[in-house]
Symmetry: C2
Subunit: 97 residues, 2 copies
Amino acid sequence: MIRHTVIFNLKHAHGSLQEKGFLRDARIALETIPGVTKFEQLRQVSPKNEYRFGFSMEFADKKAYDAYDRHPKHTAFVQDRWNREVEKFLEIDYEKL
Amino acid sequence: MIRHTVIFNLKHAHGSLQEKGFLRDARIALETIPGVTKFEQLRQVSPKNEYRFGFSMEFADKKAYDAYDRHPKHTAFVQDRWNREVEKFLEIDYEKL
C-alpha cells in the first residue's frame, strides 16, 4: 500500500467560487483514475503549518501509483489546473512501516 | 473526525537499535491513550521531502484530541523521548472537507 498525500494552498480567496470549483474539478478528475482508492479531500487544521487543504489517496502498490502519475487525466489536471491555481504545496507519501 | 499526523526524522542512525526502540516505545506510549484510533506508524517515501517517518492517528473530535494532547503518557513521551531523539518534524492535522 502506498498512501499519496499532498497539502496545499490555492491562489483563490478562501470560500470563493473559484476555490469550490477547483476542489470539485479535482475530485472529478482524480478520484476516477484507475488504481485510486480512499480518495479524500481534507481541510488542514493544524496552526503549526500554513497549509489549508489536503488530498489523500491510496494505491495497491508502486505500479498502480506510477500508472496514476502518468495517466492523461492526472497530467492534464496538473498542467491545466494545479500548476495555475495552487500557490504552494508539499507532497508526502507513506508506506506501512 | 480529526486526523493528527506528524512526519519526522530521528537523530538515530537508520536501522539502528535506537531507532527501533524509539518506534516501539512510541507505539506503546501513544496507541493506548484514550481516544486514539487508527494509530499507524509509517515510512515517508516521497523523494520530494526530506522526512523519513510518519505517525497518524484519528480522534472523534477536538475534545478527544485535546485530552490526548494533555494526557500524562503523551506529555511524558514528548518530554523524555520526542524532544531528545527527534531531529525535525512537521505536524499536519486534517478534518474532512
